[in-house]
Symmetry: C2
Subunit: 469 residues, 2 copies
């Protein structure tokens, strides 16, 4: 991150977190020079950046002020799903979303893919290419079921450095985080069982419930602090819940990270009711600031947390590389892995292990996170200037997706209209078991260029039309 970007990001973070209010005078150039130990021109560049993103306003002779952000602080309200187990629906909408690539390209604002154009990914492709060029039969054989030791070692090391102590033998490599989730769910349940989920929730895990005849109990979820523990407690008292499945760090789609004490309290609750937790941590390495957030797993005392993760959001989806630390369920999870896909492909594992070992992974993460954070600021600015004041927008702590609530707009319809213009969004309904969030959508933050801006303009027009009918 360049210096001015660091300063701009810090200021933006403070505004996002409510340290300043609309119209407040922001720190002077001098103050910021001192605080960040940077030059005057660095701070000026930072302010210019924030100004062009519509976040601050420069008033001649008086300094910089926080823009009258029309919806500053207007986060979506906590969700209020029905507190009873439901069958999962919405497969058609999910299929349309994930199969988009099949149709003409267009602008895939609904995509769940990370930045794949970064130069910091090149060394990884080089590793992959070099391993195949070696022409080594041993690399073409079945790997061991748990996956390559080289990769498991790197994963255990990274986890340890971020406060989750894992042994290499605690980890099973999978063909992507979806397989990890699927293994976890199938390990813990039989058809008819109930699983409590965050809501909105990742459609992949929700469809896994559907495919195996399970019911979802959608928990009220606060876009800043995550699932409601009170609601969960009530649900645990009332329903025979087998597992709690959630993304507690850089949540998809809401972007929140549950505070540490809430993660801890969740573990205690799970202990009290003796249920398992499926923690989806696939975005965990993409926090915008501070140390890497701790996992729920890091407070797990008796192996009841099944930690699921992978490289689809941090490196490349098409590696199809994930992992699971299934705690006390290791044996069943390994069996599930065997019947699900057998061993995992060898070369991607070895390539990623080397890439991590040589520092390429952390280098790439720094670059990617900086891009997403910057794009967030830019896109927030565009949204604020283009859309009506009553819409709500999430405040992501990491990752690369933004959740937008367009009160009164049917986003399935909106998507259909936009697709005629070659623009695709992720309609909110796919994130609910029961078709909620119809007036919400998820936007990808990987790009913030003229094409994206034009798409948002188009979207704003369509919203206008849909609302005025």
């Amino acid at each position: 991150m360049k210096r001015y970007e660091r300063v701009a990001a810090a200021l933006q973070q403070r505004m996002d977190h409510g340290l300043y209010r609309t119209g407040d005078r922001l720190p002077s150039i001098r103050e910021l020079c001192a605080e960040f130990a940077v030059s005057v021109s660095t701070v000026q560049t930072a302010y210019a950046e924030l100004e062009s993103a519509g976040l601050v306003e420069a008033r001649p002779k008086s300094g910089y002020f926080m823009q009258a952000r029309r919806r500053h602080g207007l986060l979506p309200a906590p969700s209020r799903p029905a507190q009873r187990p439901l069958d999962v629906s919405q497969w058609d909408e999910v299929l349309a979303l994930v199969n988009q690539a099949e149709h003409e390209a267009g602008l895939r604002l609904g995509s769940g893919s990370p930045d794949l154009t970064a130069v910091t990914l090149k060394p990884l492709r080089r590793e992959l290419s070099a391993l195949y060029r070696r022409n080594e039969p041993a690399l073409d054989n079945y790997d061991t079921l748990a996956g390559s030791l080289a990769l498991r070692r790197q994963l255990a090391r990274l986890a340890g450095a971020a406060g989750t102590s894992l042994h290499e033998d605690d980890i099973v490599i999978t063909s992507g985080c979806q397989e990890s989730l699927s293994i976890a769910i199938r390990t813990l349940t039989t058809p008819g069982d109930v699983v409590a989920v965050d809501s909105p929730s990742f459609y992949g895990s929700m469809q896994t419930l559907k495919a195996h005849g399970l019911k979802a109990l959608e928990l009220p979820t606060d876009p800043r602090s995550g699932i409601s523990l009170q609601a969960l407690e009530l649900a645990l008292e009332q329903w025979p819940i087998k597992a709690i499945q959630l993304t507690a760090t850089n949540n998809n789609p809401l972007g929140f990270t549950m505070p540490d004490e809430r993660k801890q309290a969740l573990v205690r609750l799970a202990q009290r009711f003796d249920v398992a937790i499926i923690e989806d941590d696939v975005y965990g390495d993409l926090a915008y600031t501070g140390p890497r957030p701790r996992t729920i797993k890091s407070w797990d005392e008796d192996g009841r947390v099944l930690l699921c993760s992978g490289f689809s959001k941090t490196l490349m989806p098409s590696l199809r590389l994930g992992w699971i630390a299934p705690g006390r369920y290791r044996e069943q999870a390994l069996h599930m892995k065997f019947v699900s896909t057998g061993a995992t492909a060898t070369v991607p594992q070895l390539a990623v292990a080397r890439f991590i070992e040589r520092g390429g992974y952390e280098r790439h993460l720094r670059q990617a996170v900086r891009l997403y954070q910057r794009n967030l600021a830019v896109i927030l600015g565009w949204i604020q200037s283009l859309f009506p004041a009553d819409i709500a927008v999430s405040c992501p702590q990491g990752g690369f997706v933004l959740w937008v609530e367009l009160q009164g707009v049917d986003c399935v319809k909106l998507n259909a209209r936009l697709q005629r213009n070659g623009i695709q969004i992720a309609p909110g309904v796919v994130f609910s078991a029961s078709g909620k969030y119809r007036d919400c959508l998820r936007i990808n933050l990987v790009r913030a260029d003229a094409e994206v801006k034009a798409a948002l303009q188009r979207m704003a027009q369509e919203v206008d039309q849909l609302r005025s009918r």
Copy 2:
């Protein structure tokens, strides 16, 4: 295949199929020269090869005679499993087998991997390497759920050429044939259901039944002609069978290919009782002779056959590339694929599609099949000279595994003893739901060198000791 090898293979085939009996005089050199349109020295080389494999005997002045093969025609008897649904056991033994790679190398006679040293695989590795070297972000993204069109087109073309008419949209690419089987089984069943299987049967599909709480009904299976259709009919009358799962072509572990009319009759039976067929065709391209055997699917009229296959046995296991043609269950199968692993890795699909398109696949198959057939003759010869006369051996029509029945020998114990000598076999128990086939084992035919010969000698000694106790 060189000329002399073609002649030797043809002769061996005729002996295997009982066209000649022990002690019979075989065709003269002149006759064979005429039949195959080859030179005298070619036929002499062919006979020399068969002689060194212990299959024929040269008697001066009188010609060549079929060796007194002590167990010629001694195929294992058709299996006689209990005709009732059973829970599947033997996971520990399967895990030990598939996780062998974890321990020191040694000689893995129990392996299910094909030849990975062939030069004909090099162009495939080059494709893989080149695709990654292109540094093309588009290749790193999620593929469509059904898999790359380029590969599905090649698969549909190959299937059509072998008599199974498939459209590219009938095919879903998977992360290996195991995923195909798993998708098929999960699509068709719910816990408690019964699936009829060939017996002995591939442990991967059997463990899939176990993992999902299903019961296996093991069908009597003839090592030459496959499952008993009478037994199946009785079972269908008696039990609520949801699906029939079998490997009808170049069966693992028995090596048989069910004759066409029996495959057809099986389809009719499935229609009459309205059950689905899961056809595992992963060895289908590895027949030793004649045209590529037809699939059961080729007689499917109403989409009840779910054809499962992949490239682990024909190319490389670690590609983790398979496919399924799920017939009328396409929609559910696609859903299962989504929740199982999402999209399949892109680059291996594109590399294999190009490899097929450029003729590399068929070139490699010819080379591989020739090797396996040759090794079969050599290893049969060694077994015949090393082991007691009362053992039985399968007569594979294709593939690269041999099934050996060592009456009175506990092959789990045998395996333990051999492992102390760095030799691993696949004990028969892993191929049964209920621990049958304890006196059987499966041997890999990919190598037939001095090390393998020494291992068979060692095995013969251990068998001797185990029997004399």
